[in-house]
Symmetry: C2
Subunit: 458 residues, 2 copies
């Protein structure tokens, strides 16, 4: 899931607006179809097998890496094996950032190693690393007040992700600017580097990477995330007196290279020229295997289409699976899709993305409002029986990869899941298959499948 | 959670009945109170600390074991430290079943160890264990058809827990009779032992224990559960030809010993003689630490009362926390509570149990129906903002421990959570603290707290 996480923030905003109560009972035929999809998803239990396949073929698939090609090849082969048509890689250029060596330690009396990881897009430190005093801040305002006192130092952004918010997306949205923009703010005051508290409410030893930005008008400084447990220790050490730190980041940015969206279709039975897009993003941060972020979303899309086929449901419109390139650090795949298909966007009926993890589904977000939202909610009533009846309206793009489609006027939907655990492993080494529950993943696919059956019959 | 699992089955039945749509919007003051409780629960994050305390003080707390006393003592000390009043142990007699040595292996050409565990209440095997041929059945009918062919053999009940049902409680209810009554049916046909496929949809190496019964009119035979992965292997071996097995169970049943319910109260501010019971069960199967079953339920009750105090909410009625003894293999604590307080049951306004694990809350089940249910649903509307607005009416006792209260006419409620993972570790060695997510546990406590604030002001 993306750096700025507009989607989660919009979900949080949307959650504040109450949706009208469901007007009537679910249509019995629709309810039966929904039940059939749920039972088939659980009985076949294919989603976890598919996810295991992707993670075995391409455990590391950051944009521009060899694994990213392997992920596209696995996706195309899987789509062909499922009987999808028009299976192809749609090319785009993607950035090529390589992590390299990374380590940090406190020096002097407080000597100890720190668990850190470079933020995606960071420049490296000078050869041999850098050493400097650490200065802690909790906000950009605090840093600006420090001003010259931060010059030549490592700025330690230690604002915790707010724990009290039930919406972890909203909490993430509040804490993530120090990761996204910390290097810019550190550069403005002449600091040597930015060290950012990992964006999670968990207190543990896993540093969380993620995207960060530079401003061409500001000196670029390297940026790393520190595990929350080590951030707490560092803050305590700073209370006792000055602390010096050594930071080594070997990351480098190469030239853009070829990447691709993986695309395949289930042809519509009545109006095949009309299109419903469903997808997730195929790239993932390199520390873990991207099982939840966003292997799960890609598998939701693939398994949903398999379920429709397996249950003999033939939607009127074409369902186009798009597994997007480069969501994490560039959105090049999202832009390339909208650009490649710009003449066809008027025939896009809807777009649905899953990018909140493979947890138990709770419902959907949608860009629809008012009467259109109410009419759709009526059609989605059967999801209540799957405990997935939440319907948050007016929620913007509903997914970073379908954001350009939203901007082009396409009705957008996002799968809403129980994300309370999501930021425990988001962008870390422990975002692995073991964290995914097979039943929860399957239920998500069934909810996507039912929603597609509604959207593609509209 | 109990052997026969009436509650889960009733939930499944109730889920089939649609509840009326929420009549109006939530009361703003009630919504603010609910939000306050949720945010406080997440900010303080005490539930996971409390659960860690219980599991450290009494990781093994099967009825009649030394750990069961330690659990009661920890509970009383914790209630006193929280400022509860009338804190006491209410005694009852509990059974004393001791597991002892347990192992099994296939013999001859198929020689290999099997991962098994004795079912709770089983007799032991004769000294040195027993050896016999294995015969597989998928139902009691199949066993009855086998008749004399099963005499002298080990009956392998290999009916899988149905995977396709979204309600894992219903799936459990369908599969669990072979565990509860398999030994009786095996005894009827003169078999030597019952070997039961573990009741879970997961395929892995963890055998799941649980309660089983004997019928005094039928010869008693020892009974064990086998891990699902080993059950699959055993079934394959049986397809190739006859299989002999050795089974050693050292379990013994001692005389009943002293046990106790742990009880404490938050005194009502207006009508302290009127009582709302909230609780879980303090006993747990001995293989793991009972973190989800039902450490989580006990902590939901304790943390809910702490939250009410921390938020300055003073309910009109007394809230009585009851951590019940012996749910797993006897329900002696449940019966003792109803018996001890029989003269006071008319003053019991409501009872709420949490015994489905410490997962993200989805809502509540209730024994209420019709107008009473609709009125309560209106008061519980603020839970929708915590994604916990599901309200399943007519759901019977809502918890094994409060079943006797339901039978006495007390309105009952059960915490409904996302249980998709529950049976992955239910009654196994991996029901440990690591399986519990701190945010999900805290949210459950907040939902219980809000519900108590409604019930105790009614």
């Amino acid at each position: 899931m993306l750096r700025l996480d507009c989607r989660f923030f919009l979900i949080a905003l949307a959650a504040a607006c109450s949706t009208p109560p469901p007007p009537t009972a679910a249509d019995p035929l629709a309810a039966a179809r929904c039940k059939q999809l749920v039972e088939r998803a659980l009985a076949d239990n294919q989603a976890i097998t598919l996810l295991g396949g992707l993670l075995q073929a391409a455990p590391k698939r950051l944009s521009g890496s060899p694994g990213s090609d392997a992920a596209v090849q696995w996706s195309l082969a899987t789509m062909r094996a499922m009987g999808l048509v028009n299976v192809r890689a749609e090319p785009c250029l993607v950035p090529q950032w390589v992590r390299g060596e990374e380590r940090a330690e406190l020096l002097g009396q407080t000597a100890q190693p720190l668990r850190i990881t470079a933020l995606g897009g960071s420049i490296g430190t000078p050869d041999g690393g850098l050493e400097a005093e650490v200065v802690e801040v909790r906000s950009f305002e605090q840093l600006r007040e420090l001003g010259e006192k931060a010059r030549g130092k490592i700025v330690f952004f230690n604002r915790p992700m707010p724990r009290a918010l039930r919406s972890v997306g909203q909490a993430y949205g509040e804490a993530v600017p120090q990761r996204s923009n910390g290097a810019i703010e550190a550069g403005k005051v002449g600091a040597l580097a930015a060290l950012v508290r990992s964006v999670t409410t968990a207190i543990d030893g896993n540093p969380h990477t993620g995207a960060m930005h530079y401003d061409d008008a500001v000196a670029k400084v390297p940026a790393a995330a520190i595990a929350t447990a080590d951030a707490e220790q560092l803050a305590k050490a700073l209370q006792r007196g000055p602390v010096r730190m050594k930071l080594v980041l070997g990351c480098t940015q190469g030239p853009d290279v070829a990447g691709a969206n993986a695309v395949g279709e289930l042809a519509g039975s009545v109006t095949p020229e009309r299109i419903v897009v469903v997808g997730g993003h195929l790239d993932a941060w390199d520390l873990g295997d991207g099982a939840h972020d966003d292997g799960a979303g890609c598998i939701h899309a693939l398994e949903a289409v398999r379920l429709l086929q397996a249950c003999g449901i033939r939607p009127r419109c074409t369902i186009r699976v798009v597994l997007f390139a480069n969501e994490e650090n560039g959105l090049r795949g999202a832009r390339a899709y909208a650009d490649t298909h710009r003449d066809e966007l008027g025939k896009h009926v809807a777009a649905l993305e899953s990018d909140s993890g493979g947890f138990a589904p709770l419902g959907l977000t949608t860009s629809l409002r008012d009467e259109a939202a109410a009419a759709m909610q009526q059609k989605l009533l059967p999801l209540q029986d799957a405990n997935a009846g939440t319907f948050l309206t007016g929620a913007g793009g509903c997914g970073a990869d379908i954001g350009p489609l939203h901007n082009a006027g396409v009705a957008c939907f996002g799968l809403l899941v129980n994300s309370q655990r999501y930021f425990d492993h988001h962008h870390t080494a422990i975002d692995t298959l073991a964290m995914v529950n097979e039943r929860e993943l399957a239920l998500g696919a069934a909810v996507v499948a039912y929603t597609l059956s509604v959207l593609a019959d509209g």
